[in-house]
Structures are given as structure tokens and as C-alpha cells.
Amino acid sequence: MHVDVWHEVGERNVGRAGLLLIGLIVLLAIFAPVLTPYSPRENTSTQAFSRPSADHWLGTNDARQDIWTQLLYGARTSLSVGFGVALLSGFISVLVGGTAAIFGGLYDRFWMRIVDATIAIPDVVVIILVAAYLRPNVLLMILLLSALSWPGGARVIRAQTLTLKERMHVSAARTFGAGWSHLLFRHIVPDLAPVLVAIMIQDARRAVFMEAGLSFLGISDPSVMSWGKMMQYARVFTYLEVWKWWLLPTGLALSSTLIGLSFTGYALESALDPRLRDRDDHAEGGV
């Protein structure tokens, strides 16, 4: 079954479009230094607010910086936050959801109440509060967003593990004396893989969105270029023509990333067990 799911995602148009978009943006981010001669903070010799040209594909901003370059490096920030959160949050989800299902009892109840509590807390408020007191940087952002996004995934993983652990091969492994880590990582996670990836894509999408939003609000590492920050700067100059090649491409880049992730996630989820489609998705929401 594990092979079919990925195959099906590739077969669907939505899935194919999503993967294509993400692939494109990942390539742009990886090859950023090759695709531009400038660095994102470099004040070029070109005039401020210059129109797109051969030297500056998307013109320059008020500080004579190359907007195309900023867009490329902004993608790096968005994607690394997205991937970082997906990995960390996914790992915590598996660990908490999986062990809660395996051990059950008091341990399970304890963690599920923690999950409830975490979901009930408005994320943005927490992040703004924490970021206001700590010096925001990319790593802190990943940790914070992960801390807020794992509970939704943990619930799904727990539910899935509860059914998986009744499978006979898992029972058999238990009767060889296997501990929880063997059960979880050898028997359950492999069968969870498609669900887990769906959860991680949701987490990533949300993280990219949140990161952009927070940067827009000024909660970000000042030394790192990001799409949210670009949009915030560009917003000031909307009375000029510059928004066409400053604000618009940034917004489009962000939207494409989100759409790419959404499409892939959607295709994956509908390719999975139909029951998952009715799932009450707590991962939705945001700013």
C-alpha cells in the first residue's frame, strides 16, 4: 500500500502541480548564489526604485538592493523554517502520539490533555510574546513554531498508532520483548509514513505562512532576509509604481509556496485512507 500512495499523488494533477511548484521554489532557493550576482543586503550602484532591467530583473528597492536577489534569499528562509518545523514538529508528534498510544493509561491521558491545552492557546499571541522578549532568529522561530504545531499531528499519529498497534505483527514484536522504540520506529512509523508526510506538509505550510506573517509584523531576525519583511517594506511604497515588481512578486512567491504545499498535501491525503479525509483538522488556522 505504501507504494501506491506516492504513485497516486504523482498521478493526480493537483499533486503533480503541487510537487512542481515546491520543486521549482526549492531549486531557486538552493541555487540562489548562482542565479544572482548580488547579495540580498548589498547596496548596488543602481538608482533606488529603478525599474526591472537586464542587471536587475525585478529592479531595486529604496535602499538600492536587488529585489530578485532578496526574493531568492527570502525563499531560503521560508523553506528552511518550513522544513525545520516539519521535521521537528513531525518528530515530536510521532514521539508523543506514538508512545501515548503504545503505553496508554495515565501516560496517554497526560499527553492528550497537554495536546488539548496547547491547541487551545492562540499561537500568535504566544509567539509575539516570546519573540518580543527573546532575540528572534531562525532557530528560535523553528523551535517556537514546532512547539505550537506538534499537538495536531500528535493526535492523528496517536489515533493511527492505536489501530496499527493491534496489528498482529506489532503484537508479535511485543511478545519478543520489544521496547517502545523498536515498536514505534520499526513497525509503526513505516506504516505511518504517508500520514506522517501529510502531517509534515501541513506543518510546513503553516510554518511558512506564520513565518511570513511574523516577519511582516517585524518579529524576525533582522539580519535575515524574508518574504514577510520584504512585503512590510514594500507596503510603505505602494503609492509608487515599484509595488508591481516588489510587493507583487513577493506575494506571488509566498502564495506559490503555500499553494504548492497545499496541493501536495491535499493530493496525498485524498490518496490515503478515505477516513482521513473526514478528519477534524486542527492544523488549520493561522494569523
Binding site: 498482529m168 508479535a172 511478545t175 519478543f176 520483548g177 520499526r186 506504516d191
Partner: protein, 574 residues
């Protein structure tokens, strides 16, 4: 009264009888059973003073030590006080003398003066006593049938009304009907004598004697009341003997005893073939001591109870799926747990192995209470499941699956684990070539998958195997092979098996004992033969009624049946 004290016989330095003690009173009948070479016949010959080896120890007949007597004195006792019926019917009679002459001779040699009238009368009475036509007395041995020859030999042994009668394989080489007649005759003639029946035929021994001694490599390993001993053997060798002898009482397939008998093993003579041996067994000879109304020579006190369940209760919510079960499973034994689905069989199995929590009661493994199940527990107890393909992860190859328990238990390095896995795969009769080892569960047949599952359960060398409907997902022909395999493995390893099935016809073929479960309780328990031939509980009768048979008008067609209210727990002796 016959007292045998520390009787030893050696041939060329090899100790054939290694110290036998027996006390027999008039009226006692004792069977000496054991494999050939155990020293049974040597014992008989030594008692008669006919043995060729060096004899030591004492044989007291009414207080008189026979071993110190000279040959002349022995001869006077032989045939008069003690008589023996020899094993080989063909060779024991003189071919050139008529039968009645030979019997007359037996009487004459012990009489001072001849009195033909008395002797002739005595011979006639003997002929009547052994049910032989007097006319046959004029025949030569080759003119008689086997049964008639045996009767003549018995008449010879009885000629002088001896106090001690030794019968060496009295019914060997006789057909079943003749055997039954001779057995009845012997039983009558043995009354009021000290009778020793030397045989490897357990059913003859059972019919002839009240007491039974099991001889192994020149030592008595178990001695007790015949019925009691056969019904519940306590020494592993006794159980092995019973299992390997065909009879109508035990429905389980025949199983042998691994290895062969070797004289002069250090420590317990049976230790190298015993599946429950511990260190001391190969170091010291166990003394024959009394235990539970029986004499037994075993360092472990006989077959050890492996798993003891008392008042076991498993609850789901408020409902007790297993409701107070008492069960004891001995080393190397199979108990079949029979009942309809929902009776709590699988729940009980899963409670034992720790997949379900015990609500009340106690479980003991090898005498130790089972509180928590650590890795060591799973080295001793393993389980195989109903659906082999589901019990093996679809992401694991045959080799991955079989080495998984070793990996979990951290046994050896990767190479050693593969080595062990291959050995066990061979034991379950599976291929060990690379192509097979790399197959996934969906690429092999159901029977192969169950063999893989069995191999996987065996790699840790457990003492107890729980088999939960291991063959119900398989074809009948494959099922038969898998069951045969399980019995063979049990024979080789001394594995105890808790066999769960809804099929009582199947259960009786594989189990020593049967426990019938209904609504979470064991309603009847006993030997597989006893439960299936003379069921007590109505539910057992019902199960037997609907059990598969090949008679088109057979049972299994009876009308609806209601579970009786308040079924009682009824355990049987054997």
C-alpha cells in the same frame, strides 16, 4: 517375600544393572518396563541366578540370600521357589521332547522319588489350568501354535507352584486375540504369587500388574501404582515411553524420545535425553525417593510444572472474558484449550503472554510468580498466531522476520543471528537459500509463512509455545504438516504447548490434556482420551457431537442446544 537390595550386574566392566532395590510381598505383581537394553531381562536372569555377568548386591527370598548360594543350592530353588517364563517362545522348548514330557521333567527334577501317578495327575491339572487340550501334550513343540507353546511354557513355570514367577515378555510375538487370552490366564495364575512382568509392552503390563517400575539404563527411575503411573507419569522418561507406545487410550499422535540410551552416563542416566535437565543432572545420580505416593528418581522431582494459572481473571471494562481459570501446564506437554469463539481461549493466551492485563489471580512460570514481563520472560514464552501472513510485518523479509526476536533480545552479532535463523529455518523444514530468505510474506504460501512464524518463535529457544489457532487459516493438507512439525519440535525440544483451537477433533490429535472452555471458565479438563471418549460436561458432549466425522449419517446434525445454566468446573484425575 522377595527383597532385592542394591543388585548390580556388569558384563565386561559395563554396568548393565546399576543398583536395583525392590521389596515384594506375596500377592504383589510388578511390571518392569523400559526400552530394550534397559536391563530388564538381565534383572530377571540375575534373580534366577542364570545371569552371566558379575552380580553384586543381595537377593533375599524369605530372608535367605540367594546370591551367596552355590550352583547346586540355586538349582534347587530355581523352578521350585522361583520360575521364569522366557522371552523367546520358539527357543525355550526342547524340540525333540513332547510337551507333556517336558512338563513332567520340570516336576521330576524337584522330587526325591518318582511317583508317576502323582506327576501325571499334576500335569493334567496344569494343562487345565493353562487352558491347553490334554491331547496336545503328546505333540512336539513345532506342532503347536505360538499361543499353545506359550501356554505350555507357562504350565512348566507353574509346575511346582513357585512363590516367585518371573515373566519375560510373556505376550511378545502373539497376535492380539491370543495375547488377550494369555494375559487373562496369567492374571489368574499370578494370584497369590510374587509376579514380576518384564515387558516393553505397556498395555500388557497395565493389564497384568498392580505396580509398575520403569527401568532406564539399569536403574529404576519411577515406581508406583500401575494405573496411577500410566495415567499421570511423573518421570520424563515414563511419559516418553507412554507417548511412544500405541494404545487406544491416548489419541495423540505417537512421539518418540530423542536420542538413544547409553549406559554409564555420568549423573542421571536419562540426563542426555532429558529436555528439562539442569546442571546437577549430569553431575549426580538422583536417588529414588518417595514423592506423592510414588518413588521417583529425578533431581527436579519429576516433570516440572512450567506454567501454573490460578483463579486467572481478565476483564474488558466490567466484563470478565476469562473468569477464574485454573490450569497447570507441565514441561514438554500439550494442553489443548477448546471452546467456541468468544469462550475466552485467545484472551487467556494473550493474558499469559502479556498482551492483556491480568485483573485477578496469579500466574507462575517455573514456580516464579509472573509480575512483569521482561525480555527474559519472552525468551521462555513465545506465541504463534492464527494468520501467519499478518503476524509477519509486510515490510520484513523472511530473514528479517526470523532474526527480529534475536535483534530485540540482543543475541550475538549480525552473522551469528543469521546463523541461528538458518538453523531454525532448517528445523522447520524451510529452504535457507538466499532467494527464499529475501522473500516478503506476500511472496510465500500460507504454510510457508506459518513455518516462518514458528521458526521466529523458536529462535529464542522458548520452553512454552502458545499456538493460537495456528492452522485454521491453512488448507487441511498443510495443516496436517504443520501439526506434525509442532509435534516433532515438541519431541526434540521438550517444548510445552498451549494449543488453542475450536476444533476438538484436531485438539485430541495433538494434545496430552484437553481443557474445555465456556464463557471464560474451564468446564472440563482431563486427558485428551478421557475427555473425548467419556465427556462429563454437557458442553463437551455438544462439542463432540458437532465435531467433524466422516459418517454421512453421523452426529453433528442434532438440533439446537442451549448452554446449561451455571456450568460447574470439573477437573478429572486423568
Amino acid at each position: 517375600m522377595l527383597n532385592i537390595q542394591d543388585l548390580k550386574v556388569s558384563y565386561d566392566g559395563a554396568l548393565i544393572l546399576a543398583g536395583v532395590d525392590l521389596d515384594l510381598l506375596r500377592g504383589d505383581s510388578l511390571a518392569i518396563i523400559g526400552e530394550s537394553g534397559a536391563g530388564k531381562t538381565t534383572l530377571g536372569l540375575a534373580l534366577m541366578g542364570l545371569g552371566e555377568g558379575r552380580v553384586s548386591g543381595r537377593v533375599l527370598l524369605d530372608g535367605k540370600d540367594l546370591t551367596t548360594l552355590d550352583e547346586v543350592a540355586r538349582r534347587r530353588i530355581r523352578g521350585k521357589e522361583m520360575a521364569m517364563v522366557f522371552q523367546n517362545v520358539e527357543d525355550a522348548l526342547n524340540p525333540i521332547m513332547t510337551v507333556s514330557d517336558q512338563i513332567k521333567e520340570a516336576i521330576d527334577v524337584h522330587r526325591e522319588r518318582g511317583d508317576p501317578g502323582y506327576v501325571g495327575d499334576r500335569v493334567r491339572r496344569l494343562f487345565r489350568a493353562v487352558g491347553l487340550d490334554e491331547a496336545k501334550g503328546r505333540s512336539f513343540p513345532h506342532q503347536l501354535s505360538g499361543g499353545e507353546k506359550q501356554r505350555a511354557l507357562i504350565a512348566m513355570a507353574l509346575a511346582n507352584d513357585p512363590q516367585v514367577l518371573i515373566l519375560d515378555e510373556p505376550t511378545a510375538s502373539l497376535d492380539a486375540v491370543t495375547k488377550a487370552e494369555i494375559t487373562r490366564l496369567l492374571r489368574e495364575r499370578m494370584e497369590n504369587k510374587i509376579a514380576l512382568v518384564i515387558t516393553h509392552d505397556i498395555s500388557t503390563a497395565a493389564r497384568l500388574t498392580d505396580k509398575m517400575a520403569v527401568l532406564y539404563a539399569g536403574r529404576i527411575v519411577e515406581l508406583g501404582d500401575t494405573q496411577d503411573l500410566l495415567g499421570s507419569p511423573r518421570h520424563p522418561y515414563t511419559r516418553g515411553l507412554i507417548r511412544s507406545s500405541p494404545n487406544m487410550t491416548t489419541p495423540k499422535d505417537l512421539q518418540g524420545i530423542p536420542g538413544r540410551m547409553i549406559h554409564g552416563v555420568s549423573g542421571c542416566p536419562f540426563s542426555d535425553r532429558c529436555t528439562q535437565r539442569i546442571e546437577i543432572c549430569s553431575e549426580a545420580v538422583p536417588p529414588l525417593v518417595e514423592a506423592g505416593g510414588r518413588l521417583i528418581a529425578c533431581h527436579r522431582g519429576g516433570i516440572v510444572p512450567l506454567l501454573e494459572l490460578s483463579r486467572v481473571v481478565t476483564r474488558f471494562g466490567g466484563l470478565a472474558a476469562v473468569d477464574g481459570v485454573d490450569l497447570t501446564l507441565y514441561e514438554g506437554e500439550t494442553i489443548a484449550l477448546v471452546g467456541e469463539s468468544g469462550s475466552g481461549k485467545t484472551t487467556l493466551a494473550k493474558t499469559v503472554i502479556g498482551l492483556f492485563d491480568l485483573a485477578e489471580g496469579e500466574m507462575r512460570l517455573e514456580g516464579e510468580p509472573l509480575v512483569r514481563r521482561d525480555r527474559d520472560f519472552y525468551r521462555k514464552v513465545q506465541m504463534i498466531y492464527q494468520n501467519p501472513k499478518e503476524s509477519i510485518s509486510h515490510r520484513m523479509t523472511v530473514l528479517d522476520a526470523v532474526t527480529e526476536p534475536l535483534l530485540i533480545q540482543k543475541v550475538g552479532g549480525a552473522a551469528e543471528r543469521i546463523e541461528i535463523a538458518k538453523r531454525v529455518l532448517e528445523e522447520v523444514e524451510l529452504s535457507t537459500d538466499e532467494a527464499f530468505l529475501k522473500r516478503y510474506p506476500h511472496q510465500i504460501s500460507g504454510g510457508e509463512a506459518q513455518r516462518v512464524a514458528i521458526a521466529r518463535a523458536l529462535v529464542l529457544n522458548p520452553k512454552l509455545l502458545i499456538a493460537d489457532e495456528p492452522t485454521s487459516a491453512l488448507d487441511p493438507s498443510v495443516q496436517a504438516k504443520i501439526l506434525k512439525l509442532l509435534l516433532d519440535i515438541q519431541e526434540k525440544r521438550g517444548l510445552a504447548i498451549l494449543f488453542i483451537t475450536h476444533d476438538i477433533a484436531l485438539a485430541r490429535k495433538v494434545s496430552d490434556r484437553l481443557a474445555v472452555m465456556l464463557k471464560g471458565k474451564i468446564v472440563e479438563e482431563g486427558s485428551a482420551g478421557g475427555v473425548t471418549t467419556a465427556p462429563i460436561h454437557p458442553y463437551t458432549m455438544r462439542l463432540l457431537e458437532v465435531a467433524p466425522d466422516l459418517d454421512p449419517k453421523g452426529r453433528g446434525m442434532s438440533g439446537p442446544w442451549a448452554v446449561p445454566e451455571g456450568p460447574t468446573i470439573r477437573a478429572r484425575e486423568f
